[in-house]
Symmetry: C2
Subunit: 288 residues, 2 copies
């Protein structure tokens, strides 16, 4: 595995790989890797022969400078995990390599008003901008994003379509612990009691799936039932339980052909998110 | 010369050209071609072996729907001029090929507040967005923009740097009529009297060059002298006479190392623009 810090070195390595006929897969990360990240690399491997991973904590997407400064970092461990996971090239630039008096921003209107966007002003604009930059630096054939950050994944998919990036976008299913908890670097902040209470999030999605399969599609009714399930886990706060249209990420009163069901809640100061995509295919309903 | 209307067909043709070892040059236009456009192709030819030109009237960059609807079009004539000019591939998509419920925009902050940006809200955002799309569709090695639209050229140069587009940007010098008038499709709206009066614009830039060469650098003084020259041409209105820093396009009180001198004025309802870049190189001053 090669580790580079300069844009020119990425381009050089990618050019070489492409010359030898390889397709380029790309997984952008902010480091502090866990199995969830490696599951994205696994999917990338199925679609491309040369795996690029970026590790860059992007200050543009932080609302809170303190949150940025204290973002966990362990590059040596990351390199180890990435190499074992089959990454061929790590790109880990410093801030000045990426931003030199940057004046340019990319935005995807409307998709960022709801869900997590509501209390993270500017966050998604920072994501779109850095991902556009990374796409132009790496020039991958395939890019893989996790469904875990569903709003990010859907809006990046829209950005790629709107700006005609010549890239195949793949949204990878959520990687879960054996008991169903969505993997997250935040899970380590949970006490064992909170850890087991937080399972109510994934259980609420299971409940939603059952209701949809039994023909209940009215959002307010489903949300009411999901709320009961989450409350069994006694969260300190439920941030949102939302049923939104996949294409617009706007609240929908009735679950339709392709719908996102997303939840966010706090245990202590730890905010956890989870979601499910429900898609009607003919007469059957697929929930992932 | 090949003419295509579909994004996939551009990609196919560009892929073929690249396979045979050719570099791709790109000149985006809104059609109604004149010698100014062909001068951009000429420069592109010096830097690449396969010339792509887009002809697309981009509604996103029009503030006025009427202005958009009445924008002059003559595709058959354009094809003829482009072919004679050595274009290899014309991409002329319709609106639905380019925009399908577009939600994504690209913006370059600050560079668009002054000069022509002041009274064209949203115009440059529309330009940045469509050029980003065209860059991703054509994937050129080299793109050529005219210095005539200096604000567009400088801010696109900044966009390319900020978003790391792997493209060499070339700003081509203004193509002028023999008497010095900057070429423009708008010149045909001028009466012969207005036509000769409008020469005061390019004369005012000559005046500026003389002043700079004689060591006068104070903007207010230079602007005062330029104003006298333009007023000799009795314009119906002087829109602006601006001396701005090349990197920020903000007004500067003293002409510095790289400075843009830009003018805009009306004769009748025809708005004409012209400009000059003054660059200090060692002890000498280069004005283009």
């Amino acid at each position: 595995m090669k580790i580079v810090r300069k844009i020119e070195d990425v381009r050089e390595a990618v050019r070489e790989a492409r010359k030898s006929g390889k397709k380029i897969g790309f997984v952008p990360t902010m480091g502090f890797l866990h199995d969830g990240h490696i599951s994205l690399v696994e999917i990338s491997k199925k679609n491309a022969e040369f795996q690029v991973m970026s590790i860059f904590v992007n200050r543009l997407q932080f609302n809170d400078v303190n949150d940025f400064n204290t973002y966990p970092k362990d590059l040596e461990r990351d390199f180890d995990i990435a190499e074992k996971g089959g990454v061929d090239l790590i790109f880990t630039p410093d801030d000045t390599e990426m931003y030199r008096n940057n004046l340019t921003t990319v935005d995807v209107d409307m998709l960022t008003e709801n869900l997590c966007g509501a209390h993270r002003p500017g966050h998604f604009k920072g994501v779109f901008t850095v991902v556009s930059k990374l796409f132009n630096i790496v020039q991958p054939d395939v890019a893989v994003f996790g469904q875990k950050d569903i709003q990010q994944a859907v809006s990046l998919e829209k950005m790629v379509a709107d700006l005609n990036f010549p890239i195949k976008m793949i949204i990878a299913p959520i990687k879960r612990e054996i008991d169903g908890l969505a993997m997250s670097s935040r899970n380590k902040h949970l006490s064992s009691e909170q850890r087991s209470a937080a399972l109510s999030l994934s259980r609420s999605l299971k409940k939603c799936e059952e209701l949809l399969k039994s023909g209940v599609t009215e959002s307010s009714k489903i949300i009411g039932e999901m709320k009961k399930v989450i409350e069994e886990g006694k969260p300190d706060k439920i941030d949102y339980i939302s049923i939104v249209d996949y294409g617009t990420l706007k609240d929908t009163t009735v679950a339709g052909d392709k719908t996102v069901i997303a939840v966010a809640a706090y245990w202590g100061t730890t905010r956890l998110i989870d979601n499910m995509i429900a898609e009607r295919e003919g007469n059957s309903l697929k929930c992932v």
